[in-house]
């Protein structure tokens, strides 16, 4: 808000400062793109600082020809799509009963769920449970552990409580609908905003998850993209900082190839970004309404 006669010096300063901050945030991307399309020798000589030097797409060709990248891309896609459907459904059917005042044991169950935000058994017992269930090295290791979070349940429950009027449910009950019919025919159609937000939350969570596959997957053919990227990071650190020539028996990729891999792996997030933008801000707003 501005009033006439106030100094504009601050405004100019503010525009300038925010411009610098924005440049700092974007610069790593510009730099990485430039490295990936520059001539590899220009990169090693340290000539690339902002814009590409000597356009060259050989790095992308190398990445695209690598079967390991494509397989992990495919794995990530499978984990994300199956995981999102399963986790979203589970989230909705768990949150809905908690939003109903007549649900027996509502307070106890809400407490049991919120308590998990405050205290946990730690990583090792969690790992042992997942191993005992035989989930290691299966698709389900990426779907079931971590499927529900107390935080999301509270957000969705609050959404149901605040948007779906109790009289709507009552009138459906008078018309003879049972709770399953109410959920599928009335509650779900009225909840599309939260369903969109939550699917995005969940999908991004699985796509970006790197700790879960790190501890639960050991089979190279099952690795998602994040683990392949991790290998590249670890190899790059080995080469650049620790002076290793190769990693296992694999030669370490050049910096241009590393950069190209990073860019290629960002593409799905970049494509999804307009949707994320639109729904995420809404989601944070919904979350900000205190439950």
């Amino acid at each position: 808000m501005r009033i006439k006669g106030e100094s504009r010096i601050f405004d100019y300063f503010n525009i300038f400062l925010l411009g610098i901050i924005t440049f700092i945030v974007v610069y790593p991307f510009i730099y990485t793109v430039s490295v990936s399309v520059s001539h590899p020798s220009a990169v090693t000589k340290g000539e690339v600082m902002l814009f590409p030097v000597g356009l060259n797409f050989s790095a992308y060709k190398k990445v695209i020809e690598s079967p390991r990248i494509w397989r992990s891309y495919w794995n990530s896609t499978v984990y994300t799509s199956i995981g999102t459907v399963v986790r979203l459904f589970l989230l909705l059917i768990t949150s809905y009963p908690l939003s109903r005042p007549n649900f027996p044991g509502r307070n106890l169950f809400t407490f049991l769920i919120t308590f998990t935000m405050l205290f946990s058994g730690g990583l090792v017992p969690y790992f042992l449970v997942v191993r005992a269930l035989g989930l290691l090295n299966t698709l389900w290791a990426m779907v079931i552990p971590g499927a529900l979070s107390a935080w999301n349940i509270i957000i969705v429950r609050t959404f149901f409580q605040s948007t779906i009027h109790p009289s709507l449910i009552e009138s459906a009950q008078i018309d003879g609908a049972n709770d399953l019919q109410i959920l599928f025919r009335i509650v779900f159609p009225l909840s599309t905003p939260i369903i969109a937000v939550m699917s995005l939350f969940i999908a991004i969570g699985i796509w970006n998850d790197y700790f879960t596959p790190l501890i639960f997957l050991t089979d190279d053919t099952k690795f998602p993209l994040t683990i392949i990227l991790r290998d590249i990071v670890v190899m790059a650190i080995g080469k650049e900082f620790l002076g290793l020539r190769e990693y296992g028996a694999i030669p370490i990729p050049s910096q241009s190839v590393q950069a190209a891999t990073l860019i290629i792996s960002m593409i799905p997030v970049l494509i999804a970004y307009p949707f994320i933008q639109r729904y995420f801000i809404k989601g944070i707003m919904i979350g900000a309404i205190k439950g």
Partner: protein, 310 residues
């Protein structure tokens, strides 16, 4: 008996579908949250996979004693605390200042552009962030070292093998990643401030700084308090995803934290065979301290302000 019958007829049976819906979620929390809590007993045993949890012999507090009398406990606690404290000192105010600056911007288009751009890194996975960091800091061709060589005539610095740089790298990367996201939370809180307050202040002759100081900041206080309590609850746990990607034995001195130690010694068994009982004991220590700190900060917050988690 009457009670059971009443409960069944009036409470259970009419709500059978709701209970049915809730069942998978309940099972989920029992299996993945409460059974692991029961699994804490292996912290007090010498767990052996062949004997199983129940047959393994009790050893009392041996693992806690080993951990706290060993060479690593202090280093791990110090590193975890320092990463959190530095993260709070630098990472907490910056998004608030950024949100306030954005809020003072007159051009909606410029504002939206900045938000769209700064929000993006939040959605990238940690390996990508780590990849960008490695690109940046590479001694042979990373931009930071190019600048050091060309502009300052200095030798390349092997940043990722020098313990003294690790904390700065970790904290800068996290601020960079989360800046736009955290700012959106504050901007959302700002929209709930009644605009008539500003109008009244302008009529009363309040200047820009006074309006920020006496309207905007007090309007943000509840959000700031809640976020501070939540981060205090995590004082002994720090996001280990990025650390696991960037650290190496040369930087353990500042980079190794409780979480990475539990992972390395408890599950991965990177130095020596995995010791599940030790890992559980250290994890339990971390959980208990987290529970205590969040309770303490919450009660302090309730006493000194009106905002608290519960």
């Amino acid at each position: 008996m009457i009670n059971v019958k009443y409960w069944w007829n009036r409470r259970f049976w009419p709500n059978r579908y709701l209970l049915l819906m809730f069942l998978p979620g309940l099972l989920y929390f029992i299996i993945f949250s409460y059974i692991p809590m029961g699994g804490i007993i292996i912290a007090f045993k010498n767990y052996s996979p062949w004997l199983g949890i129940f047959e393994s012999p009790w050893v009392g507090l041996k693992h806690f004693y080993d951990f706290f009398s060993g060479p690593y406990a202090w280093r791990l606690i110090r590193n975890t605390l320092l990463l959190n404290i530095y993260g709070l000192i630098f990472g907490f105010p910056i998004p608030i200042i950024f949100a306030l600056l954005l809020n003072e911007l007159n051009s909606e288009i410029y504002k939206r552009f900045i938000q769209t751009v700064t929000y993006f890194p939040f959605f990238l996975s940690m390996p990508i962030i780590a990849g960008l960091i490695v690109q940046f800091l590479s001694p042979s061709s990373g931009i930071i070292n190019i600048i050091l060589n060309k502009w300052f005539g200095r030798e390349s610095v092997y940043f990722l093998t020098k313990p003294e740089y690790f904390r700065s790298i970790y904290i800068t990367a996290n601020i960079w990643k989360n800046l736009g996201y955290s700012a959106i939370i504050y901007l959302a809180a700002l929209t709930s401030i009644d605009p008539t307050l500003y109008e009244a202040a302008i009529i009363d002759g309040a200047n820009r700084w006074q309006r920020v100081r006496f309207i905007t900041l007090p309007g943000l206080t509840p959000t700031i308090t809640i976020l501070l309590i939540l981060s205090m609850g995590h004082i002994l746990s720090v996001g280990i995803d990025l650390i696991l990607l960037l650290y190496n034995p040369m930087t353990y001195e500042t980079a190794d934290v409780i979480g990475t130690f539990v992972y390395r010694r408890g599950i991965a068994g990177i130095d020596g065979a995995p010791n599940l009982s030790l890992g559980t004991a250290v994890g339990l220590f971390q959980s208990v301290v987290g529970l205590i700190t969040i309770m303490l900060t919450n009660s302090i917050a309730r006493r000194i302000s009106e905002t608290s988690l519960w």
